[in-house]
Amino acid sequence: MKKVFLNGIYPYDENLILKLIDFEKGRTSYEKIQEEFRKNYDLIWELQKDIEYKSDGLLSWHDLLRPFSEIIENTKVLGLKRYFETNFFYRKLFFDKKLKIKENKINEWIENYFKIPDENSKRIIILPSPLLFLEFSENIKLKSICEIMEEIIDAILSKRKGILFFEDPVILKREILKEEKDILRKFYKKISSKTEVIVQTYFGKIDKAINFLFSLDIKGIGIDFIRNEVEKIKSWDKDKILVAGIVDCENSYIEKKEEIENILNKLREKVEEIYLSGNCDFVFLPRKIADEKFKIIKNLA
């Protein structure tokens, strides 16, 4: 099996996008949209046929937080907020003080947002890290986010086998307070007792966060090697795997094989177990280019 992760939200193909544009203007039916979605899922599974942990590309997610507005009682979807350095916008969520999961909806929610090609497949279960969740939320504290996420993760793990993949650009973007670190340590320890956990970082330099990440009870760390130089990784915790983001998902320039191999060879001198991924979500690329870049890392893995 190839050691590759299809990380983050994956782009739609052009047929689906054109159908969605038509649908909004009343020029096509809901059924036609569903048909295109089915084709997109088939293509996503095909792309990952030789990969152990599969993702559905989060094709039904508008952003990494939006599904939570449907499963946590009384959540309001607010205005747009730029997703870090991109031209992609999230909607902030506003939470009720009393956080409660919609118990009667949870199974349907998991079916919708965590699809698998067949019952035996293992998932890469992608979620926003608690810090990312906090960044795009209002009226909620980090501790409460961790608590409600634990409940949701329990429900997901009762239906899906796989590895948990927390996306966390925030950890590289601002100073994490001591009390926040304590909360995160406890959270990741608890979750790691249930399944393997990877924290994927991107959009920043890893230097200041690496020691804290090593101190977490997690299986692996993802690093954006478009922004980070391999030389900055002085040593590596042997118990942790590295998810190396080595293709640039923010630019259509297709990396030359030797450019990537150069990084990879240097990494292999320092780290035993390496999985490959995009440096961040593939959603910032048109589908054809995303496929091309994903195939490059698949061939190198």
Partner: protein
């Protein structure tokens, strides 16, 4: 200049009869009725006979007919803005596809790579720079001349800035021509070179030509300005390279929206006196409640910092992402809250947060009409 001068920001929706005709889709009865309805509403029925006769063909419009259709959608949109009572007018980008695709199509060296998501199920066609950018033609000139023939009011032409074109494009050309081992440094150097080339060889000549043809108000749209915190300085430099000496007898405004404005403050001094108006989006962050206390006007917090600079404040008072028609009292309070900070009605321009292209004309018109009426009440209250 007028106190609390009103203007639109850029886009309006395009009427269905225009979209379908350009796309070679068959027009239906409703499309024709819509054209007649707006012609009547805008007192353009007589002038629009030619349009109705073209639209009656329903499909297979010739190149000339399509040009006429664009002409009429430009006329309708300009008159809609005029009728709403705005001081500066424009045609809501009826000549353009949208703010990115249109300029890029008019620059050599770009190739469209496909759609990428912007938010929810909204997408835009993204291009890559594959060769040295070169201006094909002055791409806003015809638009300016056409609108000038419709109105006696001053016209403001918006133009997508160099930074936004660079940031919203991929780069496959410059990155190949920069020799630097560190991939990120190489990418950054390539972006800087790409940006400055766009400013000097694409934006500046366009602005200069518009000025020579008589444009007095030019707005540079830079929604991407703050998207990369380590590139604010090169963004500001690109503005200077785009405007150069033209500021001496032309009014320049800059429009930035849905951004982290605080990132700009360390660099704004550099463009004081060159860019006259700085327009941000505020209403999107604000409450809908009437009142002038800071809790109700939470969206206007940034004015506390902005008031220390010498700019005219372009004040977004209409949320463009909702059909909610802001009552004139709410508009009044948003303006007067800003007035309490800025103290000078000539240093506040009133506008929507951004272009209204996602709203139907009926909604856009009601919003703009209330904006003008709200401004009138605000003026009265301060004794004008």
């Amino acid at each position: 200049m007028k106190p609390f001068l009103t203007h639109e920001i850029g886009s309006l929706a395009k009427p269905n009869w225009r979209i379908k005709a350009i796309k070679n889709e068959k027009l239906d009865e409703e499309d024709l009725k819509e054209a007649i309805k707006w012609a009547e509403f805008l007192n353009l029925k007589k002038e629009s006979e030619k349009l109705f006769s073209i639209l009656n063909k329903r499909i297979n419009f010739t190149k000339e007919e399509k040009k006429e259709i664009i002409y009429f959608s430009s006329l309708f949109a300009t008159k809609l803005i005029e009728k709403a009572g705005l001081d500066l007018v424009y045609d809501g980008e009826q000549h353009r596809v949208e703010m990115y695709e249109y300029p890029v199509k008019n620059i050599e060296g770009f190739e469209f790579k496909g759609y990428v998501r912007s938010f929810d199920n909204k997408f835009f066609k993204k291009a890559a720079c594959i060769n040295l950018p070169k201006l094909k033609n002055f791409y806003h000139l015809e638009e300016f001349k056409t609108i000038s023939s419709f109105t006696k009011k001053p016209i403001k032409i918006p133009l997508t800035g160099a930074y936004t074109i660079m940031d919203w494009s991929f780069d496959e050309y410059y990155i190949k021509n920069i020799y630097e081992e560190n991939f990120y440094k190489r990418k950054k150097l390539a972006r800087e070179k790409f940006l400055y080339d766009l400013a000097e060889t694409i934006i500046y000549p366009n602005l200069k030509k518009l000025k020579e043809e008589g444009a007095k108000f030019l707005q540079i749209d830079e929604p991407a300005a703050t998207s990369k915190s380590d590139e604010i300085e090169i963004f500001i430099n690109s503005l200077l390279k785009s405007i150069k000496e033209l500021y001496k007898d032309t009014f320049f405004s800059i429009h930035i929206c849905f951004s982290d404005y605080k990132l700009l403050f360390p660099f704004l001094e550099k463009i004081q006196g060159i860019v006259k108006e700085i327009h941000f989006e505020y209403a999107n962050r604000d409450t809908k409640e009437i009142g002038r206390d800071k809790e109700k006007r939470i969206g206007y917090k940034i004015l506390d910092d902005l008031k220390n600079f010498d700019f005219i404040i372009g004040l977004g008072v209409i949320d463009v992402h909702t059909d909610f028609i802001e009552p004139k009292e709410l508009i009044r309070d948003r303006i007067l809250y800003a007035y309490e900070k800025i103290k000078d009605p000539y240093k506040i321009f009133v506008a929507p947060d951004c272009g209204l292209r996602t709203r139907k004309w009926e909604i856009a018109y009601e919003k703009l009409k209330n904006m003008v009426e709200g401004k009138e009440i605000a003026l009265k209250e301060i004794g004008f």
